[in-house]
Symmetry: C2
Subunit: 453 residues, 2 copies
């Protein structure tokens, strides 16, 4: 059971960019308090991603519900000499009481498709930009990487080992959540078990072996101390010699009622060692002992090992997962699409956006495979399932969030609905996303409004 | 002035890998409580890094001083069914009371050189591994990337814009600290100002312009609201047209006693637009208005723009800085080097380590340029300055930490001492690090101890 209280505390409302506060001063002074509509979307996908997986909505909703400035924070702001007292009073009263529409977590999405829409008075919708992007970007990044690993792992057990090289505490914690959501089986990060109920897994480190002068004794000590979870790390000195020690140790442990569950290899050519170790274990009567591999593992290596038939039952994936190493950032944005009832559009070179409130419709074939999407205005309609749904009104969730296992099951179904070419690592044609005529019309109208028609 | 209290709270002691706790159960059961020595180091540098910059020590020391399990955390652990009650009692009493030796933050370092050594009872030194790596890895990663940007920026103003695409809250906050330490001038992340005293900078977003139907009115509103920091974003629609609007607005603002400090360009070919805009501003009598550029900026683009003589006075650097996008992880480790008075060594393929407590000596020429390093045992001696010094004893800092401006000045001097080829972006010969004979002798002895000599 997770803790009732999150143990990575909600960060301060000051976790934002300075320009949000200076713009809010401007909005306050000039009474720009009408309803604004912002949408979060990705501009384009890198070649190494055929789809993104929406994730992070749950933490965004938590953030919006908890957002407020403390007296100490306001006092600190007042001492910066930039802001007027009346504005800071107003900031102290500010809460998020707007609407949120979003794609469900675990839904695949593509370039230009919004996964979240904020409808709120302009200052509220503006202030939240930095943290909202920060949260959606991180988990979408990791879930999208994890989904690739899950797709090639062919059912092998996958464990997140990423905490140490994740970028800070929150990245480690949320990478565990995002990878579990995407189909990983467990994480080594204890706090993710406590906070989100992600199943935990772990073995031993080289230091445990090194602290003993005798490797076999290290194995015996570990097995007696953790009889419920005996996974022995066998590559500290000589992998195959250690596998033989495991074979020799097994009968003594069996007499004490202890089963060895698995061994882990963390270095060298994992496929070569796995074959040698599997043969040693099998010859020694330990065919039920599973073989777990780690060490610089990513989806390409797993795919190769799976294709080669390497006798590996599970993988620990660390750095490449937790940093999304081949694409450590998404080209994503949160942009004003409508203000005071009229659509708005940025036309910056290479960064122009589609204006107005949008919906994504997804069409499926008779077997439930995705055929293509239509991106259009909410005032338009199109064939298919409407993916963006209301989740928050007046700053409160419309219903309790799905549990993490529910999100994970939704993700599993969603991934299964993707065309096979998109689920593979090889280059693939882009998934078809049609921009409806209604959006072209709206864009022309928005350009006219800003004197650029 | 920073807050007295950090506003990104210390994360739970459960922010660790499960195997740290299972190993601690083993150490507890089998009385492995002798003194252990672990060192943190990088295995190798990627081609796109000629040096690393040590950073994160300050947060590691905070972590060590605050480390403890709360009753709620112990209760949660007890319900996982893995740990024995006597062990959990012991865990509740556990504090870090060991020693720390380290390189000063802001010191360049190279492959195999430890930047931090922990000397403590084995369970303490083991438990802290995950979070210690997590903290040192992140800030060293970002400071090392930032140093490259600082080296090519030729004194142009550099501002961290990375919060939104940093990997979570802590990554955004600590990237601001690490980049300032490495020579950046300011950050947009407000909390980094509050918590670390990093100078803040910010302009306006496109949404501020879009929320007005008239771009010039948006500029006027912003200037009147923030007269002390008028930097106007001019690329929402047509960059040069907006620059002309700035020229036309300036006299009205001057009558109200408001100076326009700068303009920002965030899209398109930054060099081309900068020239056009500079000419418009200069013709309009605004030669004192500075020109600030952002949008997918990294050290390669800055170097090119500087070399081309682009009239850009400063850069906002976001994603590439905050994710260290070309090298989003360091190949670093924290390894047991000695236990119970004898050196230990891991011999895993491709991951073998040098055993024992080590020191790094750095030699300089008459002009203060680094000539090369010697890595050796602490019991050996070598020519040069010893870089690893005691910073904590019995779990308490030996002296107050240097202030962040002091660390920044130290870093500036350290970077200036690097050979010019290492400060450039072009491929360079590796910096010479000599492994002293004493370490080879120690390695042979450690192999003998583990039966592999």
């Amino acid at each position: 059971m997770p803790f009732a209280q999150p143990h990575l505390a909600a960060p301060s409302a000051l976790l934002t960019d300075l320009y949000q506060l200076t713009m809010l001063q401007g909005y306050f002074d000039h009474d720009l308090q009408d309803t604004a509509v912002f949408e979060f979307f990705a501009r384009k996908l890198p070649g190494c991603r055929h789809f993104y997986l929406a994730a992070g909505l749950e933490q965004v909703l938590d953030y919006l519900e908890q957002l407020r400035f403390t007296p100490a924070e306001l006092d600190w702001l007042s001492r910066q000499g930039l802001f007027k007292p009346a504005f800071l009073d107003y900031l102290g009263r500010l809460r998020f009481d707007g609407e949120v529409h979003a794609m469900a977590e675990g839904t695949p999405f593509f370039a230009d498709e919004p996964i979240l829409r904020i409808t709120a008075p302009l200052p509220q919708a503006q202030l939240i930009e930095s943290r909202l992007i920060n949260l959606l970007h991180l988990q979408t990044l990791i879930a999208s990487k994890a989904a690739r690993i899950v797709q090639v792992a062919a059912g092998k057990r996958l464990v997140d080992f990423g905490l140490r090289r994740a970028h800070g505490a929150e990245a480690g914690l949320l990478a565990a959540r995002a990878s579990y959501l995407a189909g990983f089986d467990a994480t080594a990060t204890v706090l993710a078990g406590a906070q989100f109920g992600v199943p935990l897994a772990g073995t031993m480190a080289h230091s445990f072996v090194q602290a003993h002068l005798d490797e076999a004794q290290a194995f015996a000590h570990f097995a007696h101390s953790l009889p419920a979870a005996v996974v022995l790390l066998i590559d500290t000195y000589d992998t195959e010699a250690a596998a033989q020690k495991v074979v020799e140790l097994a009968p003594q442990l069996a007499q004490a009622g202890i089963d060895i569950q698995g061994v882990r290899i963390d270095s060298g050519d994992l496929g070569v060692h796995a074959r040698l170790v599997r043969a040693i274990l099998d010859r020694g009567g330990l065919s039920q002992v599973s073989l777990f591999a780690s060490g610089n593992v990513d989806e390409y290596l797993i795919q190769r090992l799976v294709e080669e038939g390497a006798p590996i039952d599970g993988y620990g994936v660390g750095t490449h997962l937790a940093t999304s190493s081949d694409a450590p950032a998404l080209d994503c944005a949160y942009k004003l699409q409508e203000y005071a009832g009229t659509p708005r559009r940025k036309r910056s070179e290479g960064k122009a956006t589609w204006p107005g409130r949008k919906q994504v419709y997804r069409r499926y074939d008779a077997d439930g495979l995705c055929l293509g999407d239509t991106l259009t205005s909410v005032d338009d309609s199109a064939e298919g399932q409407a993916l963006i749904q209301p989740v928050m009104r007046q700053g409160r969730r419309l219903q309790p969030s799905p549990t993490l296992p529910q999100v994970r099951e939704h993700t599993r179904q969603q991934l299964a609905s993707l065309p096979p070419a998109l689920r593979a690592l090889q280059p693939a044609d882009a998934y078809p996303v049609c921009i409806a005529p209604a959006l072209h019309t709206l864009a022309a109208a928005a350009d006219g409004l800003s004197g650029l028609g």
